[in-house]
């Protein structure tokens, strides 16, 4: 009895694991397919511009506002803690490094996944449910080239821009709190920041991270939409899965990327 229950439990774990691995594999295969059919997106870039509008421009407000708030909180908390060590002037360093290296790419990507990723999934899923994708295929137009690839590239291009805007906005927020509100010395704030933040190792690495996140979120969002069961529950389930899987993927990839970046790539 007990043995049987244990076996059943282990089997369940195995089954779940296999299914997750399968899903990751399918997403990667779909990503490769999207890349293969990307020629149209670059030949007719107006298709991508449209998607940059929906993915990027429409996420601007939430990204800018969140960035400002996160930066302000960092400024407050950082000042509070650093004060104990008598180095409140390093608050600029703390704000800038946490934003540029981690929070900018990661939080912007999480927001992007829930704002734009879910929208992409829902849109493609509904196009499938209402046979728009089949219709396109019957017109001898490949829906991956015409519908999926432009949305994928729109997301990939938007993500780093949004992450940089998030970081820049956050630093402004930190500046407002630390310098304008609390009265940390203006010069020390910026000069310590500039001395500590390295262009190649902090800023470029942050942009690389956001690019990777952009690829991951866009691939997951398009895949989930394209593979969604063509029903109302199917599409809503796919939208949820996009947000959950994207968030997990962002955090897992962040760990891997950070480990490599801190240790160097060799």
């Amino acid at each position: 009895m007990v043995l049987e229950a244990t076996l059943r439990g282990i089997r369940l774990v195995g089954d779940r694991t296999l299914r997750i691995v399968e899903r990751i594999g399918a997403t990667v295969a779909f990503l490769v397919m999207t890349l293969v059919h990307s020629a149209t997106s670059f030949r007719r870039f107006d298709l991508v511009i449209r998607e940059i509008f929906f993915a990027g421009v429409q996420s601007l407000i939430i990204i800018l506002v969140s960035g400002l708030f996160v930066g302000m909180v960092l400024g407050l908390q950082g000042h509070e803690t650093l004060q104990n060590y008598g180095s409140e002037q390093s608050v600029g360093v703390l704000v800038a490094l946490s934003l540029v290296r981690e929070l900018g790419p990661v939080v912007a990507a999480l927001l992007f996944a829930s704002r734009a990723g879910s929208a992409i999934t829902a849109e493609i899923g509904l196009m499938k449910a209402t046979e728009q994708l089949s219709a396109m295929e019957m017109m001898a137009i490949n829906p991956i080239a015409r519908v999926v690839a432009p949305r994928f590239w729109g997301g990939v291009i938007s993500m780093p821009l949004l992450a940089m805007l998030f970081s820049a906005m956050g630093i402004i927020g930190g500046f407002l709190v630390a310098v304008v509100l609390i009265g940390v010395d203006d010069g020390a704030f910026w000069s310590q920041m500039q001395a500590a933040v390295d262009f190649r190792h902090d800023i470029v690495n942050g942009i690389i991270k956001s690019l990777v996140f952009g690829v991951a979120v866009s691939a997951i969002a398009t895949f989930e939409g394209y593979e969604a069961p063509p029903t109302a529950e199917g599409v809503s389930g796919a939208t949820t899965r996009t947000v959950v899987s994207s968030s997990l993927a962002i955090l897992a990839l962040d760990l891997v990327l950070t480990a490599f970046m801190l240790k160097g790539w060799n």
């Binding site: 849109e123 509904l126 196009m127 209402t130 046979e131 728009q132 089949s134 219709a135 396109m136 295929e137 019957m138 017109m139 001898a140 137009i141 490949n142 015409r146």
Partner: protein
């Protein structure tokens, strides 16, 4: 008269369940042929096989003299350019205006200048009597109007073969008559050949040249509309006059009532 579509000895199934069994069917050039049957009898599957969305493993499907069974994606797409299809609920692209929907294939497949596309698009819309709605979005139209726009889109590139998947589903009687007349008129005006999948007997018998009756994956009857109306086959009779019980039983096959309710004979 040559046949544009020919199906011989076709068996098709999803998994192990056979949906179509030993289908033989021919659609002469220039004619309007209906495939009728109950919901779920396999007639939509048949249409998908003709459009190449599904591939036959057993038997052959020939369209315009080309065998579809083992066509490459490229060959299939080349063939589909000579095909038009009207989906069940129109499947208009919801992110494009009526005008852009009809112009879609011209823009994707031809190098025509925008002025020519404009003239052609307006002509197509005029043919379905909807030149006045060109700037509306699909969501702003009634179901009947959307269906007519979809018809204009399906015939945009003057296809040789037009496939209709339940063109009458969910329409009010007036729209229904309009669509029926349009299907007949467009077929004759374009010199095209049409295959119509429907369960709307009265409307389709008015316009088609020949009818195939499908029941449980088998062609059970065929003939001209007059022959069908006069048919004494019990199934056809039940279908045409819409009788609740007959050879097609009201009850889905099940255990006996007394078994299900747990009644035992003492």
């Amino acid at each position: 008269m040559t046949n544009l579509v020919e199906i011989s000895n076709l068996n098709f199934g999803y998994g192990s369940r056979l949906v179509l069994k030993g289908i033989n069917l021919a659609v002469p050039k220039g004619s309007l042929v209906a495939i009728m049957g109950l919901s779920g009898c396999g007639k939509t599957t048949l249409l998908r096989l003709i459009g190449g969305q599904l591939r036959a493993r057993d038997g052959t499907v020939t369209v315009a003299g080309q065998r579809l069974n083992d066509m490459s994606q490229g060959e299939l797409y080349a063939l589909r350019r000579r095909l038009g299809m009207l989906f069940q609920f129109g499947a208009l692209f919801t992110d494009l205006s009526v005008y852009d929907n009809v112009a879609f294939q011209m823009r994707e497949h031809t190098q025509l200048p925008e002025s020519v596309i404009r003239d052609l698009t307006l002509m197509k819309l005029n043919a379905v009597g909807l030149r006045g709605v060109q700037s509306l979005m699909p969501s702003e139209m009634s179901g009947g109007m959307a269906r007519r726009v979809a018809l204009a889109r399906a015939t945009a590139l003057d296809p040789e073969l037009i496939l209709y998947d339940e063109p009458f589903a969910g329409l009010d009687p007036i729209s229904l008559g309009v669509i029926g007349q349009l299907i007949r008129r467009l077929n004759d005006a374009l010199g095209a050949t049409s295959v119509l999948v429907t369960h709307d007997v009265q409307e389709s018998l008015k316009i088609v040249d020949y009818v195939y009756f499908v029941s449980e994956g088998v062609i059970v009857a065929q003939g001209t509309p007059d022959q069908i109306r006069a048919s004494t086959l019990p199934f056809v009779h039940q279908f045409i006059w819409g009788e609740a019980d007959g050879p097609m039983p009201f009850h889905y096959p099940a255990r006996t009532m007394s078994d299900d309710l747990g009644m035992r004979e003492a």
